[in-house]
Amino acid sequence: MTLWLMAGLLFTPLAWAVLTLLTDFARGRLVTWGGILVQVLVSLGLWLTVARDGGFYYGLGGWDAPLGIELRVDGLAVTFVLLTAVVASACGWHAGIYIDPDKPWHRYFWPLFWFLWSGLNAVWLGDDLFNLYVGLELISLSAVGLVALGGKASALRASLRYLLAALLGSLAYLLGVALMYGQFGTLSIAGIASWLTEHPVPAGSGLALALMIAGLALKTALFPLHQWLPPAHGIAKSPVSALLSALVVKASFYIAARLWLELGEPLGNLVSAQLVGLLGSAAVVWGSWLACRQLQLKQVVAYSSVAQIGYLFLLFPLTYSVSESVSLQAQQGITLQVISHALAKAAMFLAAGNLILSVGSSRVDALAGVSRFLPFSLFSFGLAGVSLMSLPPSGGFAAKWLLLQASLESGQWWWVLVLLVGGLLSAAYVFRIFRASFLESPESDQFYHPARSLEVIPMILALLALGLGLVSEQVLSVMALPFEVEGSP
């Protein structure tokens, strides 16, 4: 049964990419909704099977590592596959209605959408270093294509800046892979990790990991390397920026986290771990500060992504040379943070899209009076904001709680300050939007009411982000499952 699910998971997005390539946007939309249904069912089925009988390795083409490529299907990977299914289906549904079907170049929207989805699945499940590289490239190129599709000069400029950053990041990662292969002779992460546990750490191997994590940090827009993200996510169409901010940015972080968790102990050192944590904290402060000063609504949400990404990199210091329980807590906290940020950020971008559509201008101060006209979208924007500010009962709060516990227990109390100040700063820019929209302005009354279903989607995502806080125990229970078969070298 699991073989069928795995085959379905890998086959469907690629097949639908080809199918939608042959039709135009309108018919492509129908085909896509069928595909979304299949993909969500398959992801759910896979999640349930792993929840029932633990993770397993899946050798592609019948060959096992190190010769062939192995997919590592464990609790964490399957949870992210399910998350991708949920967020991508919401964005796909929203895009189907939001995007104007009769523009000729929009016929290429759906193929790029499906290639992006297959790239994400490849990255969540991948355990082979080079395979992850190809998955990353697949994601980056389709994301750049989506940003640039039919855009004006500014969209082109943003997509070019994004492409150059993504390519430089991939090359740095590939250089790291080359050094790793030169040193360990195998490309399977599990193989390298098990070899490192038995043998002393060879000299000169720290650079490979550093290069890979630097490349991935550039692709995740960590603080000093974040200039490319706000223009790209701000200018793209709302469903696209929702996909980018919620999932694409997380893919490269996921690989960096997996590398750090498997190889961080032997190859990494304390200084680099603390440095990455420091960069993350700087990202939180700088991103929030800029989000408060933006004039465009979607730029505010984009800079908020830069800030929220900073939290994710707290995983590095909190899992380096700490006790087993603290490391597990930190991992659980970061998983919840990724899931709740993905849901909340997607809801926020979609809701922002609706607000811009109805107000007719993308400036924040043009939102005056929208609270009276479009309360539903504003309410979903608010609920998503609650999760971003990590206030209870949202998933963000559960994540912040676990991270607080982990940093207190491991004695690194300075991360506690980052978490608390970050929460307040995010409240600053979320309520700035509320202030603008609650303001009663007599003259603005010519609003355009977007389609009803456009407003329902962000609400569903926001409620999921909120509900996550209540069911975080079950979601995380899948993660700590024992592994069925020992990873082969």
């Binding site: 592609l60 395979n131 811009i356």
Partner: protein, 233 residues
């Protein structure tokens, strides 16, 4: 003054980076790598259905990489077409009536086609394969394009899109066929591995040539412009 300072700083950074990289390579090169992959590969080569090791790795052991890589290529093709202007291929300024080029063409095109065919066939036991053959085929197409021979199938339409995705689709169908048969995704049924691989390679060659050629043909950019979100369209 700032300009040169900046260059100097970047130069120093790159120099340091190269130095660290070279030092790391130097230290890595001393110790032998624990897993001897080539030896493991040669043991399994006969089960891969192809004699040439590189093709075996590309199309059997690590076929998932190749599948995704073809996907990447198709994305580049899609992006190229989506911004293409060429409604018609009859671009007069491309038509060259230069007799020398015309004569050259009459000699070269058949030669390059034979070379592409050879490369494709040789792939299973000698260096060669889908990518090289595809590239040579694309080069032939470029030559014919410069010669002004109209190639109807390159006009952005259903045929072009079908051509782009053909190789990828066949590869995908073979991959899923074996999965339905109960083995892992992308596993070839034992008996007919070689024939399957050759079929896939030939279809891939066509698609790669089509993608690379489409990128060249669709180069002139269209004026289409989508109003930015929210600005009063």
């Amino acid at each position: 003054m700032i300009w040169t300072l900046r260059t100097l700083f970047i130069a120093v950074v790159c120099l340091a980076f190269t130095g660290v990289l070279a030092a790391s390579i130097w230290t890595i090169a001393d110790k032998p790598s624990p897993v001897n992959l080539p030896q493991l590969l040669s043991e399994n080569l006969d089960r891969s259905g192809v004699e040439h090791p590189v093709t075996a790795v590309l199309l059997n052991f690590r076929s998932y990489d190749t599948l995704l890589e073809i996907g990447v290529l198709v994305i580049a093709g899609i992006a190229g077409i989506s911004m293409a202007k060429t409604a018609t291929l009859e671009d007069p300024e491309l038509r060259t009536s230069d007799s020398l080029l015309y004569a050259l063409q009459r000699w070269f095109v058949p030669l390059m086609l034979v070379l592409a065919g050879y490369l494709l066939w040789a792939g299973s036991d000698r260096p060669g394969g889908a990518f090289q053959a595809g590239a040579v085929l694309a080069a032939t197409g470029v030559l014919m394009r410069l010669g002004g021979i109209p190639m109807e199938f390159l006009r952005p339409g259903r045929l072009l899109r079908l051509g782009l995705a053909l190789g990828f689709t066949v590869f995908l169908l073979v991959a899923v066929a074996s999965a339905i048969g109960g083995e892992a995704f992308l596993a070839y049924p034992p008996g007919i591995t070689k024939t399957l691989i050759v079929i896939i390679e030939s279809v891939l060659t066509l698609s790669i040539a089509m993608v690379l050629l489409a990128l060249f043909v669709s180069a002139p950019v269209n004026d289409a412009e989508d109003s930015e979100e929210g600005s009063s369209s």
